[in-house]
């Protein structure tokens, strides 16, 4: 790996070193004049402003040509700009770390993707995203299953009564039954949540769960006017299951999980 330790290794993490006139792009909005969003940009408060083409605008800040690591600090800066813009505009978020070499290149993006951006902005008009992660307490769920499931309770009693003589097989069987009951319980909780939120959201998307305690990692697309009802529903559900489940509820976000425009981009040399 010796060659990897060459001198340009650090360049990726130290913005500010070479300040060629790059543009960091946060999002695309509909706006036919320029606009300044203040000094809130990535890399320590760069000025955030628009590059316009026709009635579309890219929200950008100046940046050296670097690769931004997805550190919490950088990701939060990216998100903060989008949150600020979102207060007034419907937006299409760009992937974290998207850097163009020049204003001209940004304008070329708006021009070449004009129709797709316009269509998606129309579809996303007045819609916001919420994130909902649900984690469970395995021990408590197991306890509640052992309490409620007759077959499991009987088998468990049997094993405890005959501790010495209970077979390996009986224990295995118990383990399998509990495992299956847990999966069923998880599916039931998740289905219940989706069912409750169906009427107050436009769409939902389930992402891969993180770790072994999470049973749901979902994003919901919600009409701005339904924000309150969505909020209340989530609170209702979390109250109902507060003994067993932990809810991590975030947002409003730009529709990160519901915009899927494949941009035809290549590396700029």
């Amino acid at each position: 790996m010796s060659e990897m330790d060459s001198s340009n290794r650090r360049a990726s993490s130290s913005p500010g070193a070479n300040s060629a006139g790059g543009k960091y792009v946060y999002c695309i909005i509909r706006l036919d004049r320029t606009r300044d969003f203040g000094e809130i940009g990535i890399g320590g408060g760069a000025r955030v402003y628009t590059v316009n083409h026709d009635d579309l605008a890219a929200v950008v800040s100046d940046t050296p040509i670097v690769i931004y690591d997805p550190t919490r600090e950088n990701v939060l800066a990216h998100e903060f700009v989008n949150e600020t813009v979102m207060r007034e505009f419907t937006l299409i978020p760009m992937s974290f770390g998207t850097v163009f070499r020049s204003e001209k290149d940004v304008a070329a993006l708006l021009k070449s993707t004009y129709q797709a951006f316009t269509d998606v902005l129309e579809k996303m008009q007045d819609k916001i995203e919420f994130g909902l992660k649900i984690l469970w307490d395995r021990d408590k769920v197991v306890a509640s299953i052992e309490r409620d499931n007759d077959e499991i309770r009987r088998l468990k009693d049997e094993i405890t009564r005959n501790a010495a003589s209970s077979t390996y097989f009986a224990r295995m069987q118990l383990g399998r039954l509990v495992e299956a009951a847990m999966e069923e319980a998880s599916n039931r909780y998740v289905a219940h949540v989706h069912d409750q939120l169906k009427d107050v959201s436009v769409a939902s998307r389930s992402n891969k769960v993180i770790g072994d305690r999470m049973i749901l990692n979902a994003a919901f697309l919600v009409e701005r006017k339904d924000e309150k009802s969505f909020d209340e529903k989530v609170k209702d559900i979390s109250l109902k299951f507060e003994d067993l489940l932990t809810f991590k509820y975030t947002g409003p976000w730009p529709p990160y999980n519901f915009v899927n425009i494949k941009l035809k981009l290549e590396k700029a040399t």
Binding site: R72, F100, K104, I210, M214, T246, E266, K267
Partner: protein
């Protein structure tokens, strides 16, 4: 191999061309492992969750985040060496030598 490969891969391999014959010996599996950032991203998400859930403190987060960033950079460098796409860095509209 030879001149043609050199020309075809030139934009990706650049100065590492000299070591190409050793790279070719690297097993496919190793290559995939070196260039796959999925598990690293999962680790990053798990770390963020741990912080949100109050399982680790800020200092611990920062320490482990630095390690994850280091791993991400290594994968990125390997991907560049193998001529694979990488996230980040300057981009432009494909095929667009847009004349102003």
């Amino acid at each position: 191999m030879g001149l043609l490969t050199n020309i075809l891969l030139a934009p990706f391999l650049g100065h590492v061309w000299g070591t190409q014959w050793t790279l070719e010996k690297i097993d496919r599996v190793v290559r995939e492992e070196l260039t796959d950032d999925t598990p690293i991203k999962e680790d990053l998400m798990a770390l963020q969750l741990a912080l949100e859930m109050g399982e680790i403190d800020d200092a611990e987060y920062v320490r482990r985040e630095a390690q994850i960033m280091e791993r991400l950079r290594e994968v990125r460098e390997w991907r560049e060496r193998f001529g694979m796409s990488t996230a980040g860095g300057p981009v432009r509209v494909a095929g667009g030598e847009e004349e102003g």
